[in-house]
């Protein structure tokens, strides 16, 4: 976990929180209990949290405070959960979203 800021000249050293394990897209990771899911994933070097529903482009955190919804993931079966502000808990099953069929868009371009 080299991405953790362990020692900080002003904020001091990191208070170790209780470690927990969770899965993201079926792979097992470790994080700190109560930290945002997005922070735990970034600490594990995971940047891509989902792929765009229409064009399949990869996305990660953008605003990190709940405004942009770019970091949304599925947590224990619940869709559209913002990973930037959802506290991590032991055993969470987290999955990213991917491309969906877009029949309406495909239809639109031929009917303008």
């Amino acid at each position: 976990m080299s991405r953790r800021v362990v020692d900080h000249p002003v904020l001091g050293s990191l208070n170790e929180k209780e470690p927990v394990s969770f899965t993201f897209n079926e792979k097992k990771y470790c994080g700190m209990k109560g930290e945002p899911i997005a922070a735990a994933l970034l600490a594990n070097d995971v940047r891509t949290l989902r792929h765009h529903e229409e064009k399949d482009t990869p996305r990660g955190i953008y605003c990190n405070i709940g405004h942009c919804f770019e970091c949304r993931v599925t947590v224990d079966g619940k869709q559209g959960v913002r990973s930037c502000l959802t506290p991590l808990e032991e055993g969470m099953v987290i999955e990213s979203g991917g491309q969906l069929p877009t029949p309406v868009r495909d239809w639109r371009s031929s009917h303008e």
Binding site: H52, E54, R59, H67, C68, E70
Partner: protein
């Protein structure tokens, strides 16, 4: 490169699509939104609304204070399950 640049991240609306629509229809921000879907995605336009407002203001003859994008509830996405949930 700039042409294909995304402005609305949720709906993947490009710079080019917005410039062309603004030039063609000379329209308000609201019309620009409705024609391109910029600002109509998952985040409710929180990220791109000012860019869409600015493009409408700068690229068309409408005045900035005329018609900006409006807000309407729910301002955060909620599931139909929660929307119709029994309060008890």
């Amino acid at each position: 490169m700039t042409e294909n640049m995304i402005i609305c991240r949720c709906e993947e609306v490009t710079y080019k699509a917005l410039v062309e629509t603004a030039n063609q229809y000379n329209c308000s921000a609201r019309e620009l939104k409705l024609r391109t879907r910029a600002g109509m995605g998952y985040c409710g336009g929180r990220t791109c609304r000012h860019m869409v407002d600015k493009m409408a203001a700068d690229l068309t003859i409408t005045k900035q204070t005329d018609i900006t994008l409006k807000y309407q509830p729910p301002i955060r996405p909620i599931s139909f399950g929660h929307l119709g949930a029994d309060e008890s």
